[in-house]
């Protein structure tokens, strides 16, 4: 499967799971809201240029927004993480191996520790920005802090689970292939 087709399927699955499963779960607590869809953006191939990344981020966010009736909210957060993503990757991966052996970020491609640092930073950024935008309209500062921490926690747990359940088979890219 080509990268394009694969990612289109992925986007559809992530949005459907987010909208019809995670958002419909009986809430554990009002602060603990499972959010997973942005993993799609973290899994995009390395080779995409910055502008394409931003555009994909925007469209992903907007799709979710139209389902959840919050136009612009998730789009803003997704654009932010799509923008920050290349910087984090270039910091975490040594410069001399600029030509990556793998197509997209994964524990195998980046190493377990760097990969989870990458996930952690973008998760925190995404949730902070999302909650900040919500908090500007409603709520107290303490609510804001607790909500960021708890949603980050549950999201990281979900991402861990997804990585364990669906290990992406990644071909080692060589010149001969």
């Amino acid at each position: 499967m080509s990268d394009l087709v694969k990612n289109i399927f992925r986007l559809a699955i992530f949005v459907v799971v987010q909208v019809y499963v995670l958002d419909k779960l009986p809430p554990l607590h009002r602060f603990v809201i499972p959010v997973l869809y942005y993993l799609f953006i973290l899994w995009l191939p390395f080779t995409l240029n910055r502008f394409t990344l931003l555009l994909i981020g925007f469209v992903t966010g907007l799709m979710l927004d139209y389902f959840k009736q919050t136009p612009g909210l998730h789009a803003a957060a997704c654009v932010l993480i799509a923008y920050i993503r290349p910087f984090i990757i270039s910091i975490l991966i040594p410069k001399d191996t600029a030509e990556f052996n793998y197509r997209e970020p994964s524990p195998a491609a980046m190493g377990l520790a760097p990969y989870f640092i990458y996930v952690f930073i973008l998760t925190v950024l995404h949730h902070t920005y999302l909650t900040l935008l919500e908090w500007l309209q409603f709520g107290t500062f303490l609510d804001f802090l607790i909500k960021v921490i708890s949603t980050t926690g549950i999201s990281l747990l979900l991402i861990f689970t997804v990585e364990l359940l669906f290990p992406r088979k990644m071909k080692f890219r060589t010149n001969t292939a």
């Binding site: 779960l25 809430p27 612009g72 909210l73």
Partner: protein, 277 residues
């Protein structure tokens, strides 16, 4: 540069929507999400059929009990009356019209919960219509309509505000949600001189343009007082279980436009009189 542009665009959309509840391209987007939601909802229905059936049976029971055949008229009460009036003086006109609808998407775990219904402008749904559940208890009001679907702001929305009253005394207040527990809403603005007990019924007030009067909202679960205003702060257990809501009615007030127009005209008139003095 593209980053800043997209950010500004999304934030513009967000803040515009929060004011007007009308998103860019919401017509097309609503049609798309609506058709998806309908399919998922069809599947979801199978899991609630038993409960829904029992509820329907209860409702039928209450209606059958109202049938005329259940009451017999004493013979002595019958007499022939010739009506001399040319115009039927007890002629009735319709003020509210009820339309059925089905909830196709619904959440309770956000601070701004919306529902999507499978009826839209084609079916006569307009903004600001009241939405009641199939037992006649208040669910929310319509905020946005596309051709085949409509979006409802449920009571569980931090911007929702509904005029409500205590059934016993008729004292009106404002019903809002604090975004915390999806089983409870807050009634504000009831004066402390009113005697309130836990378990008192709260209904829609007579002063609302959108909601038909005396429709059940819930029961008082906790009584406290608002230190800032000196009014009661009543925690209301909602009659509707928002997590399992399925069938609803959309209620249109046929005189709403006239009432609003009158209010506007009155304001203008008073304003002019002030200037004239």
């Amino acid at each position: 540069m593209a980053f800043v542009l997209l950010q500004v665009f999304s934030l513009y959309m967000l803040f515009k929507f929060n004011k007007l509840h009308h998103a860019a391209f919401s017509g097309i987007a609503n049609e798309f999400t609506g058709s998806m939601n309908t399919q998922v909802d069809k599947l979801d229905d199978y899991f609630h059929q038993g409960e829904e059936n029992r509820r329907l049976h209860r409702m039928n029971d209450s209606l059958l009990n109202l049938l005329k055949t259940n009451y017999s008229v004493p013979d002595t009460g019958q007499r022939l009356v010739v009506d001399s009036a040319m115009i039927d003086s007890i002629q009735q006109f319709r003020k509210y019209i009820w339309r059925d609808a089905k909830v196709v998407y619904n959440t309770v775990n956000s601070e701004k919960n919306y529902m999507q219904l499978n009826r839209g402008a084609k079916y006569g749904i307009k903004d600001n219509m009241a939405v009641l559940n199939s037992d006649g208890a208040v669910v929310g009001q319509v905020v946005n309509v596309s051709t085949n679907f409509s979006e409802v702001m449920s009571l569980l929305h931090v911007q929702s505000s509904v005029s409500a009253a205590l059934k016993k005394t008729g004292d009106a207040g404002k019903l809002e949600w604090d975004g915390k527990d999806s089983r409870f809403v807050i009634l504000k603005g009831v004066s402390k001189s009113v005697e309130v007990k836990v378990g008192d019924t709260v209904v829609t007030s007579r002063y609302s343009y959108n909601f038909p009067p005396e429709k059940l909202i819930g029961r008082v679960a906790q009584i406290s007082s608002d230190p800032a205003t000196g009014f009661y702060l009543l925690k209301i257990k909602t009659a509707v279980n928002f997590a399992t809501i399925q069938q609803v009615f959309v209620v249109e007030n046929l005189q709403r436009d006239e009432q609003l127009q009158l209010e506007k005209d009155t304001e203008k008139k008073v304003e002019q009189q002030k200037k004239g003095k």
